[in-house]
Assembly symmetry: C2
Homo-oligomer: 486 residues x 2
């Protein structure tokens, strides 16, 4: 009998789809940073900085953003419902939070916040989300269309798993992309069909460019199933105009493409003359209903003025699929039985926060506005700093949580990078980290047009820290340019 004796498991013998994707925001640069952090811990004073500043992720609370009190009061009470009925709790919790927590707990299975819920999420919490969407858009949203999720990432992965059948299935994605998309498409065995955003027009999306990509990929035999749009943009920070969104809606309707709308930065818009519009709102405004266009909108508790990323909560609103497809989506979601309850509660609070007249409204608004105005200040300070650097240009900043400056690096730096076998942006980012302790993601991790070097840097460190960072960035950059100017 001839045996196929199993080889032991090595990196060469695991699933090659896992091996080939990259996810730079948590990749090599973070490993480098952790090493330096260990060094600081073991030999304090041995490096030219005292701490690592993690600007690689949009991780607001790790960088000093404080959570919204009302949200945390409610979470806390739902964790320990007997508190709701204790007199002593009145000294510690607002009446508003006590009331909301009571309402939520009473709607949970077994009135306990530790039960499995429906795989789609608790009905009452989905109603809160749907009401929030209806109020935001001015068009009705239905709890049946809402799936609560463990953050947007798991929801995006789930939709890719539904849509992708084989390498002949393509998904249109913007470049630069948020690398979760390319990774997820690779993992699920599909083909990414990239379309370029135009840096020189403020990272604008040109519909003729998308059309060209669609046609080329169809000509090569692909079946394109969906178009990913990220608005506000990550890593690029632009906010789409409504005209641009209308073009996309018309295009996807005509071409039979599902719109996968990454709308996780909907509460991070910083420009006076643009506001966030959901793709569903744009479609409904054009008169297209459920039957005419499929749209999946992803949202999350991670960003905005709330920044509750470690809680892993979110929703997807799924419009325009038949009941049979919804059943399959439900079945796939049920494989992890249900999203975590704290995340479910949080997304319901975010979509249905205190209203005028509620006791907690004023504190809530004051905290929200403090965070939002501080985000603008921080973005402006960093934007100005990057643009002050020799050979660095940074597009105007409209939304999301990142700057994505373009680096014009000297030829000597480029060849030094080449000698180390890395791309110039990777070379620059590691040098920056070693000199300043600031962790940014090399732009190549977001797959922009080749030949251009960028870094992605979050705007989130608190104002004090940004004030410290800026001179360090400037000094590093000056020294770097001096070294390689030749």
């Amino acid at each position: 009998m001839s045996y196929n004796k199993t080889p032991s498991i090595t990196a060469e013998t695991i699933n090659s789809k896992v091996r080939i994707f990259t996810y730079e925001p948590c990749g090599e640069i973070v490993r480098h940073a952790r090493g330096l952090e260990q060094e600081i811990y073991e030999n304090p004073g041995s490096l030219p900085f005292q701490e690592i500043i993690y600007c690689n992720l949009g991780n607001p609370q790790a960088l000093g953003q404080r959570p919204i009190t009302f949200f945390r009061e409610v979470l806390c009470l739902c964790d320990n419902p007997p508190l709701i009925y204790r007199d002593e709790a009145r000294a510690l919790f607002s009446p508003c939070a006590l009331k909301r927590a009571k309402k939520i707990v009473e709607s949970l299975p077994g009135r306990q916040s530790g039960s499995y819920t429906s795989s789609q999420g608790v009905r009452s919490l989905r109603e809160a989300v749907a009401n929030g969407i209806s109020a935001r858009d001015g068009f009705p949203s239905r709890p049946e269309d809402i799936f609560l999720t463990d953050g947007a990432s798991s929801a995006i992965n789930l939709m890719m798993q539904i849509l992708i059948r084989s390498p002949e299935d393509g998904i249109l994605c913007p470049l630069p992309d948020y690398p979760l998309y390319s990774a997820s498409i690779i993992l699920h065995g599909g083909t990414m069909v990239p379309y370029n955003l135009t840096e020189d027009s403020g990272w604008g999306l040109e519909i003729f460019e998308v059309k060209r990509c669609l046609e080329d990929s169809r000509a090569s035999g692909l079946t394109v199933r969906a178009m990913v749009v990220i608005n506000p943009g990550n890593p690029t920070g632009q906010v789409m105009s409504i005209t641009n969104q209308e073009e996309i809606v018309e295009f996807c309707r005509k071409e039979g493409l599902v719109i996968l709308a990454d709308e996780v930065y909907q509460d991070n818009v910083y420009t006076e003359n643009k506001k966030f519009n959901s793709f569903k709102k744009v479609a409904r405004s054009l008169g297209y209903d459920h039957n005419e266009l499929s749209i999946v909108s992803f949202h999350s508790v991670s960003m905005g003025y709330y920044g509750e990323c470690g809680r892993r909560g979110g929703y997807m609103e799924i419009c325009g699929f038949g009941a049979d497809v919804m059943d399959e989506i439900y079945k796939l979601a049920s494989l992890s039985i249900c999203p975590n309850i704290a995340g479910q509660i949080l997304i319901s609070l975010i979509m249905d926060p205190p209203k005028i007249g509620d006791g907690s409204f004023e504190t809530f608004m004051a905290e929200k506005e403090e965070t939002c105005s501080s985000l603008i200040k921080r973005a402006k300070a960093l934007h100005k700093a990057f643009n002050s650097l020799e050979g660095v240009s940074c597009n105007k900043f409209e939304g999301a949580m990142y700057l994505f400056p373009l680096l014009h690096l000297p030829p000597l730096a480029i060849s030094a990078a080449e000698q180390e076998g890395v791309s110039p942006d990777v070379f620059y980012a590691h040098r920056l980290l070693s000199a300043t302790g600031v962790v940014v993601v090399p732009g190549s991790g977001f797959h922009p047009i080749s030949g251009r070097s960028h870094i992605r840097c979050t705007i989130l460190p608190d104002e004090e820290k940004i004030a410290e960072m800026v001179p360090r960035l400037q000094a590093f950059h000056e020294a770097f340019m001096d070294e390689f100017r030749g």
Copy 2:
């Protein structure tokens, strides 16, 4: 130009791997139950029962199990850390919980429980888990080997994604199986290699049967990569003997198979003469270290005396893979950035609960023992009830949270099922639900040897509810048998 115009998305045009798997614990029977629940809500009194009793899932808190106070106190304080420092909090929280919460919060990124953490989980919480494992096994566990996860399901899916490369890769799984395994193997494109547990010897695992399955599948060209073992068993409720575990360890070592050890019911053992032993402990006791055998152990916050399933927390301990594989596992985990923080905290508390001398120890032990002894009472009552039914036999109950009685149904019932186009167990389970409001999972959802009918029923309803359920079960079964006895 010839276009491959994208078809609209229908259940026929989604990923066929999603379409073909089944996951009965959340499947058709639950849909039926939800319909009846709606009926009770809309027309109270219209059905012969007042409520649906969900025995389809191991969902302790939904069925009346109370959470452990200490765990919830700590969770609650971590949600709202300013409370830790408020004098008024001393009236509401034990000193022990205040101390633990403070320690945890101080170890979180930005000292906030809303930050992204390492994709592997917070280091200090992994240390707590590793210490708990070391204490449990008497062999060292390292925090580097621990990945905190959103429950066991996501961890199992992740490992399948790592191990499976193509349909030529096989994974050995027990039958009856917990259907997450078959579903996950299908979704990731591999081949399930089933081995039968022997009902007539108390669901024993016979190593010669596993060997036969391995050899057959190798002969047919498969590369078998891993062996799933579920101990205590789900749906079957047996606890493995140490001799049996030793045989499995020797077999997997010799054959180069990874042991995927589902150990989520480690705190649900109800028999005096058996105890839980982890596969890692058994391997180390035999003298096999990291280099000789790869073992992944899955655990979760969902079961045991804690029953915190809605929280989605867990860990996997990964031993015997090289650093390069660990890096790939980390990368794959980083795609969802990190497990939810409440779940991370909970699993650390479960693995490192109050100890003798801690202020909370006595309350903790009293609550734990109350739940454990009540679980035994409930299991006994249900076990006795099933065995009292005509033509029903239920193996002895050693562990986990389910009974899996064998139904000997009359030929007329079998042909009635056939006429409805369903298997006899499905027919029986829906009849049971319609008559009593009790939801059980048809045994065919767990893929036992064909020709045998079972149902899976959790032991979790509280004692009062079980006392109510039993006469209803008995009355239904008698009527059912009378109807079909012929």
